[in-house]
Every structure is written in structure tokens, then in C-alpha cells.
Subunit: 443 residues, 2 copies
């Protein structure tokens, strides 16, 4: 099957584990099954879990992630470079994103307009059964009995936060659907009694259908034209622009586990063990979760119903009830990004001051950073671990621990990791150290 | 006056701010009065506060700190190098410590045996009034009416943790004293009703008195002999060995504030503001204190009666009641020391792995580290900030930001800070990186 995963924006609600460059779907909290014991415990992220679940249902699944530029590095880092990525030049809600991804599949991946695709969020916390249902949606869309096939999630409580899909009978006896976003509790109860589903945001269709909608609503179905004019497109959801106006809809029900891990409360519920990373739950702790990405021990005593989360961006300690309301506090924190996953590895800021910055750079085996220069800073690398080579102003040199490479402003440079990867300390020096001061070159 | 401050051992009860190399008296939590506004808020430690209070009462006070080798660097760093230090080769309780310090004053500082000294703990949280009382003790000891003059602290509650000094009448009408350690609550009440004091561990005497006790109990009053035989001396407290057996005692009362900041509960009570360092008390916080030495924001929500403390050694989050019982948990944490104050500045471990360690080294203006070498590791310095010089195998070179200095194993080296101080990144590389692998040389 063809599947498009919508990888949404940054989240402040799971701060400090999510930030502008790391959305919640990239946080590694799920214990990896079947990891070799000698590797120790290892964890996978939401996006890795979903990707693995898709492959378990359909090993041949063709997966494309629709996302913004800022997530591309993390996706390649976590899923490898086989995955397709439809890059949105900026954020324009789900209709433009799905239109762009559909054009990408048709023109870049060269899928036939008669072929079908399922679009689903990248971050549902679900059983593998969910993806069996996703495959059924795909098959139904390919048969083409309806223009759109949706997943209806069986509600487990009268949520006021989700959208509802309510069936009704047309005079001819056929079934139609109406859509309501976030009803009041009492309305939600009524809907559930009447057989309504939650709208899980999973849509299947033949490419031709959304290409037609793109021509009708955006004036074009050309990938290049959409890409170029993307910033000018109206922000509008696929539900509002398409789904709610479409009479030819089929709904397939899903009965299994489905959770939106968007808050600390639901996120910690999905943790198999109360502590990830270095953490000790001492005397008097009840229902406390620790997620610690720092290499420091955390000792918690006498807390109840609380979450402790620590990353290079900050430390959160919150009662579970209050944790849903951290957003305004987090928005007021002005913290530079201290850690980022790149397609080739990661960087972590160790020290930052006026005129200097110290970064621990990790390059994955066989990978290399971009070939680049900086106009307003010098850099000095000291190799810590592993081996590989550097290319500085076109000249390649092998490197090993203890080697020092100095790069004056303007000098082009990259580091390439050998088969065991590479770690180095980068000292940046300059009056204006700015991540935007970077010019990339072809190698 | 002459004053000896007894600077006691390491504390795990205020972890993570105290550790094996940093006792609680070196933690900076008291807002400095009269700091220039352009310097921002700055804080002083217990030992700095006490030292300042002594100087405010007697600008000419001759202060000696009696302590172990491991605290010497921190004391010089925090008090400057004018302070006298009587270094105990190992810990042997207060009688050997006071005997050694007294011999030090007599032989090294050349005080007359008729001169007096007051010994007091380095870490009482008190008003300046306390040191007026200390001075009165000194004057009384110098007059020599009694062999020993003690401070009696007026009890504020029937504590079961302190020692009590109880007055009684001799048949001749004169006053004598008896001593009881840690009585039960009911006994404590009785003592207080009978006019007893807490024993604050403050003793004043003429040097000749303790020199005589040293000869009687330790067989010598020679500084060098005590120093050489120190490890063989019996562990015994001054109270037990001397005070409780001495009939000629005078007690001067002290009525002001007196707190032992030995637990998180009393420690946070002494904080003038609930947050030191980067910390935000969000919705639902009541009676929460944050002490944050990390350069990371801490956001706390929905906690009551709790302390949050973060340092390079770890992070503690504890209910106030439970915080008195952290010791066994902390003892189980096996964390290498990540931060240490040295006489010349500080070092902070940024990254440690098999075969390599990265350290941020800060050298105070005009100071330098010891001239030394390592047998089993190479080191590479990259200068970050400031200026000064390096001396490597006898050769001096000026240094500035961006300079790199490489030192192979065996090579002798030091760095000297200029008038603006110096910061550098030190990369250590070797199969056996060990703090004991260090040979010092004269410059």
C-alpha cells in the first residue's frame, strides 16, 4: 500500500522533550522489542514505532512523510533515507499538505492517478491492528466505490476534544455522515449513543480524487507549482475543505487502542516502565514518571501523580493535572536549542557564552555533515572518538582521536565518519555566532 | 581576636549541592549584600558569610580554618589566601583537630601560649550578634578566670538532636555544669525549664590550656609530631575528651538566631527568596524552593512543600518531609564528581566516556593551576575566553582565544590567567583516565 504520514508541528506541551526542532513524535520512549541484550535497553520514538508497525502489516508499504523542512533531518536520522519525504516549504494546515503530498506521489514517485493512498497522522499510539484497518482503507479506496474512505474510531468516552463522524440514513436507505468538531460533553454522549465514531484523521482516496480537488480549490495539481506558491495557499484543513463537503464517503471502524499522546498525562500512560534514563523513585513516590535524557542522576522522593522530564533544553517537574497547562510558561522560556538530531548524527551544545560556543558533534557511521563554511566564526575540532576524515578547502585528511583541525572563517569543511562513527568537540569562536551563518557547498 | 573555624566533613544530606569535595558550607545560597548592581545578583556561601560576619565584628580578627586537605582549594577559592589553614591529614574528630590547630597557632603563627583563641563551627546560620558573643568568649578566655569558656545557646524548642549544658549549684554556691547529648523530648523539656542551654560547640581558651591537654592525652604538643602521627590518634570529640571533665568552666549565653542548616528543610528556610538560579514556580506551587546551579531552566508546577536542587552531580526533587532521608539513596548513586572548586578557579566535566573526558577549566584572574604532568593521558587545550600564558616543558607562550595547546603524556604543563581570567576546553585522551594520575612540580 501507499501511505502518507502527516508529521505535524512542534509541540510545547511535552517540553522539555519537544521543542521547535524536535516534535513529540521523535521522542524515544517506547522500549524496543527484540533488541539484542548486549545492546542494553533501547527505545524507539513514536515515528519509529508507527513505521515499524506499518512494515509489520505490509513489508512492501511505500511510506512518504509529509512534513516541514525542520523535521527532515530527524526523519532521516530515525527512519533512514529510504523513506520518501514531501517537504512543505512552510506550514499551511492539512489540505495544502495533502494536496502537495499527493502531487509528490503522482509526479515524483510516479504513482498512477488510479492508484490509492492512505493519509494518516504520524503520532497515533495504537496496536498493529490499526494498520490492518489502514490497509483495509487503502484496498477500499483502490476499489473506488466511494471517493473517500475514512477510519472511524470507536469512542471509549464522551471526549470533548475530538471530532465525531455521525452516520445518518438518506431517504434512499444509504448511509451518509455528518461531522462535528469538539462537541460539548452532553452532545458527545448523544452522538456515541447514536453510533458515532471519533474522526481519527485517516483518509484513503485515489490520487485522481485529490488531484481534482487541488485543481478545483488551488487552481493547479502540479507539484512544482504547488511547491512554489505554497506560502500563498490558504490555511485550511482537509476535513473542512474536502471531507465535510463530500457526499461519497465510506467509513471503516477501528475498535482497538487509540491514544493521542499529546499531553504529559497520556504520554506517561504509554510508558511501559515509570523511569526512562537515570532516575530513582525514592520513599513516598506514587504514580511518578521520570524521563531523563541528561547524563545526571535524578532522585525523586515524596511526590505523587507527577512527571519529571529532563533534557538539554530544561527540566520539568509537574503535578499531572497541572502538566496540561505548561504551554504559556514554556513560551516564556527563552532557551537556545541545546540538542538537535541531524540526518547524519546529532549535536549538543555543552557551553555557550558571548564570543564562543562548545558543541559535542556525533556523526553516525558512514555519514558526514554538509560541506559548508561560516563567514563570521572560526572553528576548531578536537577528535574524541572513532575515526574518519575531514575535508577542508578541498583537501581530505584521515583523522583519529587527539587530532586537531582548525578552520578559519570562510574555510569550507566537513567531517566524514568511518565505520565506527565519529565524535568530536567543536569550539566556535566569533563575535556573532549564529546558526544562520552557514553556506553549504556541493562536495 | 584569634578564631579557629572547624570546617567539617562532606555532607550527603544536601545532595546534589554537597558531595565528597564540596561540603555544605561552600554552597552559595545567601544573597550578597551591597554587590554592585551591574554585577547582577550574586551569592555567598556559609563560610563566606561567617567570615564576613567575623570581620564586621572585628576587622583585625586572625582567622584560621581547621579542615581536611580536600577542602583547602575551596577555602582559598572562597576566602582568598590570607586565611590560615590548619590541615588535618585525615579526619580524627574534634579533639585531635583542635589540638593540631592550637599547636599550629602556637608554632606556625607564633601566638603566645598566654594568648587566647575561640574555636567555633564554620557553618552556624546566625546574626552578627553571635560574633559579638564569640568576641566576649575570647575576652573572657584571655582574662583567664576559667580554663574554658563556652557559648550557651538559648533553646527555642526541646530539640532531641543537640547537646545540652545544664547549670547546677556547687555546695559553695558557685555554678557548675553538666553535659547531656541528645536527650529524649521529655528530658529536653525538663532541662530547658531548669535553665539549660544548647551546646553550640563554641569553646574559648588560652593556648596553654589545650597545649597541656595535648601533652596529657596525646603525649605531645608539638605541631610536627601531631601532624606526623595524626592518623594514629584516637577519634575523640573535644566535648568528651576535655569539656565534660573540666571543672573550671564559664558559660556565656547567646540569645539570637542560631540554625544548623544541615538538612534541606532548614537550608531552604534560610533562603531569602524561593528561587536561586534559573527556575520558574508555575501554577499550583506552594512552599517550593529551587536551587539550580545548571544553566538550564527548571519549570515546577503543582508541587507543595518541596525542594528542587540541581547541580552537575544530579537533580533532587523531594517533598520537604522526605528530604531528611535522602542519605541512603544518595550513597547508592555512583556518580563521578562533575564539578570542583580549586584554589585557582574551577573545573567542570562536560563529557566523560571510555578513553576520553572533556572538561571546562576556569582560571581566576592572576591565578594558575599547578605545574604538573600525567603519565597515562594526552591533553589538548583550546582557549575559549580571556588571555594569559602556558608553560609547557619549561617554555612559556602567550595564549589567546582560538589557540590550541597539545600536551603528550609525560609533558609538564600549566596555564596562567591574565588579569581577565582564562577559560579553556581540556580534552583528555587515554585508556586510563584517572584523577590520581598527576605528578606535581615546582615552577
Amino acid at each position: 500500500m501507499n501511505i502518507v504520514l502527516l508529521s505535524g508541528g512542534s509541540g510545547k506541551r511535552l517540553w522539555p522533550l519537544s521543542n521547535e526542532v524536535r516534535s513529540k513524535q521523535f521522542i524515544k520512549i517506547f522500549k524496543k522489542k527484540g533488541a539484542a541484550p548486549e545492546d542494553g535497553v533501547s527505545y524507539e520514538s513514536m515515528v519509529q514505532r508507527v513505521y515499524r508497525q506499518i512494515r509489520s502489516v505490509d513489508p512492501e508499504a511505500d511510506v512518504t512523510v509529509a512534513t516541514s523542512k525542520s523535521q527532515v533531518s530527524a526523519i532521516y536520522n530515525q527512519l533512514g533515507t529510504d523513506v520518501g519525504i514531501s517537504v512543505e516549504p512552510c506550514r499551511r494546515d492539512t489540505f495544502p499538505a495533502i494536496a502537495l503530498a499527493t502531487a509528490y506521489l503522482h509526479e515524483i514517485k510516479e504513482l498512477s492517478a488510479d492508484d490509492a493512498v492512505v493519509v494518516c497522522p504520524v503520532d497515533p499510539y495504537v496496536d498493529a491492528d490499526y494498520f490492518h484497518c489502514v490497509r483495509d482503507l487503502y484496498e477500499a479506496a483502490r476499489r473506488g466505490d466511494s471517493n473517500l474512505v475514512l477510519m472511524g474510531i470507536e469512542p471509549t468516552f464522551p471526549s470533548t476534544k475530538y471530532g465525531y463522524i455521525k452516520p445518518f440514513k438518506h431517504p434512499d436507505g444509504s448511509t451518509g455522515y455528518t461531522f462535528t468538531e469538539k462537541p460539548a460533553r452532553e452532545k458527545a454522549r448523544e452522538y456515541i449513543a447514536a453510533g458515532a465514531y471519533w474522526n481519527g484523521g485517516v483518509f484513503a482516496y485515489r490520487l485522481s480524487y485529490v488531484l481534482r480537488k487541488s485543481r478545483e480549490l488551488l487552481g493547479t495539481d502540479s507539484y512544482q507549482v504547488l511547491l512554489q506558491n505554497y506560502a500563498g495557499l490558504q490555511k485550511i484543513s482537509f476535513d473542512y475543505a474536502v471531507v465535510e463537503k463530500e457526499p461519497g464517503i465510506e467509513v471503516l471502524p477501528y475498535h482497538g487502542t487509540w491514544k493521542d499522546l499529546g499531553t504529559w498525562s497520556t504520554f506517561t500512560e504509554a510508558m511501559e516502565e515509570p523511569v526512562i534514563g537515570r532516575g530513582i523513585l525514592g520513599e513516598g513516590c506514587e504514580r511518578v514518571h521520570i524521563v531523563n535524557e541528561l547524563n545526571l542522576p535524578i532522585l525523586v522522593m515524596g511526590l505523587k501523580d507527577a512527571v519529571v522530564a529532563a533534557s538539554h533544553d530544561g527540566i520539568l517537574i509537574s503535578g499531572m493535572d497541572e502538566s496540561a497547562r505548561i504551554k504559556p510558561y514554556v513560551e516564556a522560556i527563552n532557551q537556545q536549542i541545546m540538542f538537535a538530531e541531524k540526518s547524519w548524527g546529532s549535536y549538543q551544545v555543552m557551553d555557550a557564552d558571548k564570543g564562543s560556543m562548545v558543541v559535542l558533534v556525533t556523526i553516525n557511521p558512514g555519514h558526514h555533515m554538509s560541506y559548508h563554511s561560516h563567514a563570521r566564526r572560526d572553528e576548531i575540532w578536537t577528535i574524541l572518538r572513532g575515526s574518519g576524515s575531514t575535508i577542508v578547502d578541498g583537501m581530505e585528511q584521515p583523522i583519529k582521536p587527539g587530532d586537531v583541525v582548525t578552520m578559519a572563517a570562510g574555510c569550507r569543511h566537513t567531517a566524514v565518519a568511518g565505520k565506527n562513527g565519529l565524535q568530536l568537540i567543536e569550539v566556535q569562536l566569533g563575535d556573532e555566532i549564529d546558526s544562520a551563518d552557514k553556506q553549504k557547498y556541493e562536495l
